[in-house]
């Protein structure tokens, strides 16, 4: 048995979600290799080589892989992956875009968003927005898997590097073309890797009021998130969204402010270690899963919270 983990990166650094995918691959068993494909991503390959438990890193360097377009990367991954018994990525938007294309090229099923490895061919994954956990068994010769990063700890990073094998494989294509990217700039930690998250919902009333959250976030070195209601109302951009259709998070502390607690939102944050809810409606469903609930007007509570930190 051997597993290939596809590294997620921005050409400069390896994303921590890759480390969680390595942990899942190690749980399946057998050798674990990491594939780094990109343009000038040498530092990423070096970081990947230091991940504990990794046997080797395969580095494919070509400008056509710069933007990780599925039309180029999928044939590359299926070509390299066909000799492995498992191919894994974190279930990020990059992984979700890429891996089903790989699975179809390999003519096998994909197992999406696993949260648990029961054996080398039995896995658990949430269905119905997390309202149930399905246990599934794969009889495919190659298990193609996306991994919910928050469900697996990050593999440790050591000091003795695994070998890096440079491979030249070019899958040029003219089907799709990269036009541009707009990435939100923030001094705060990323939502999916933050230790503390403070999120606002419809109760924030408008986008300007998110400053109240940001001030608390700055004191706690927290990321700022939002419910779908707040995003749909236009208070904040959609990459703030925590929930089944947004980002799945599991920080040490999640503070939900003015969020009622729709199933959709809970599916994205209920695995947080400690949940705090601040809401003026004491019947709000969010209180049913909160470790600490404060029934209060958020416009009074947030400045007070900021002052006491």
């Amino acid at each position: 048995m051997s597993n290939l983990v596809i590294a997620e990166h921005d050409q400069n650094s390896l994303k921590s979600s890759t480390l969680s995918a390595v942990t899942a691959a190690l749980a399946i068993g057998g050798d674990v290799d990491i594939l780094v494909c990109g343009k000038g991503a040498d530092d990423v390959a070096k970081s990947a080589a230091l991940v504990c438990g990794v046997s080797k890193v395969i580095h494919v360097d070509n400008e056509i892989y710069e933007h990780q377009l599925a039309e180029s990367v999928a044939p590359l991954v299926s070509e390299i992956g066909k000799t492995y018994s498992g191919v894994l990525t974190p279930a990020t938007t990059t992984g979700k875009n890429l891996l089903p294309r790989v699975a179809a090229l390999l003519d096998v099923s994909q197992i999406s968003d696993i949260v648990n490895v029961k054996s080398n061919n039995v896995f658990q994954r949430p269905i119905y927005a997390g309202n149930a956990i399905a246990t599934v068994e794969s009889s495919d010769s190659i298990k193609v898997i996306t991994v919910r990063a928050t469900a697996f700890s990050e593999a440790e990073v050591g000091e003795i590097p695994a070998p890096i094998e440079n491979v030249s494989l070019v899958f040029a294509q003219e089907l799709s073309q990269f036009i541009g990217e707009r990435l939100s700039q923030s001094e705060r930690p990323e939502l999916t890797s933050a230790g503390i998250i403070i999120s606002g919902g419809r109760g924030m009333q408008n986008g300007e009021n998110f400053q109240l959250l940001e001030k608390v976030a700055d004191k706690l070195n927290a990321a700022v998130g939002a419910s779908r209601a707040a995003v749909d109302a236009g208070f904040v951009p959609n990459d703030y969204q925590v929930g089944q259709t947004g980002k799945i998070v599991a920080p040490d502390l999640y503070i939900a402010v003015g969020i009622s607690g729709a199933i959709q939102h809970l599916a994205g944050m209920k695995d947080s270690k400690v949940i705090v809810a601040i809401n003026k409606d004491e019947e709000a469903p969010i209180f049913q899963i909160a470790d600490y609930g404060l029934v209060a007007d958020l416009f009074a509570a947030l400045p007070e919270l900021e002052a006491s930190l």
């Binding site: 875009n97 269905i127 149930a132 399905a134 089907l175 959609n238 209180f287 609930g293 404060l294």
Partner: protein
């Protein structure tokens, strides 16, 4: 141009469903069923293209039991021109669904396929990407904006850090994210008119597609329940608990 939209019949998004106590599946007894919300967005996007371009035909396709005709009728009432039901009483997993759609895309000479990014029951998020692979077409997944250009389509996609824009050659596969559009409701006259629109029925066997899957569901179980904690009386008490009891700040 010919647009194919995929439609899946799923439990209504507002219904809270639970696993059956014997673990054999979800308890959907008497649950209200509806078109998957992401498929509604796909239908809406196809209709908007039809409204802005000349000579567009929209074909709505569903894979499932006979009753899925209800959701195809909904699409027809919204503005699709005709329907195809690939009828089977078996559960069909994403790869065989993609293989079925491939046959229809080739037979109908489809220029643009618009699918939901995932269905809210199985949460797989696979079919669009798999179909693109099988046809060797480009893919624009998780779309929040599309714009047709001469023989191409520009797709803005929701990605983790923000938004990415791609230009795809047609024919292409697009999968919808939530913010692509706000689906309309069908009007009563259009619902009546939809009853006369044709729905063709075929089977996976007639399309020569093997619907077996390498993935078997062993059981479903309820998620671990999280219990409600305590109510605190003040911000000061909250901060004290977070510092000294939970030790997270």
């Amino acid at each position: 141009m010919k647009i194919l939209v995929g439609i899946k019949r799923v439990v209504d998004a507002n219904v809270k469903v639970r696993a059956k106590s014997d673990g054999s599946g979800m308890d959907l007894t008497n649950a209200k069923m509806a078109m998957n919300p992401f498929c509604e967005i796909a239908v809406e996007q196809a209709i908007r293209i039809k409204e802005s371009e000349s000579d567009v035909e929209i074909i709505s396709v569903s894979v499932g039991p006979k009753i899925c005709q209800e959701q195809i009728r909904t699409a027809l009432a919204l503005g699709a021109d005709r329907g195809i039901l690939v009828e089977t009483d078996n559960e069909v997993s994403p790869l065989p669904v993609a293989k079925i759609l491939r046959e229809i895309v080739l037979k109908e000479q489809i220029d643009l396929v618009i699918l939901g990014k995932l269905s809210i029951d199985t949460d797989n998020n696979q079919v669009g990407q798999m179909l693109a692979a099988l046809l060797d077409y480009p893919q624009g997944t998780f779309a929040c904006k599309t714009e047709l250009q001469d023989g191409k389509i520009e797709v803005s996609r929701e990605i983790d850090g923000g938004e990415q824009t791609l230009l795809l050659n047609l024919p292409a596969i697009v999968t919808t994210d939530l913010r692509l559009n706000e689906p309309r409701y069908a009007s009563l006259p259009n619902i009546m008119k939809a009853k006369k629109k044709p729905i063709e029925i075929v089977t996976p066997e007639e399309l020569n597609v093997d619907i077996s899957s390498g993935l078997q569901m062993i059981n479903v179980s309820p998620p671990e329940e999280r219990l409600a904690g305590v109510k605190v009386e003040s911000v000061a008490e909250l901060v004290d608990k977070l510092r000294n009891e939970a030790k997270v700040i």
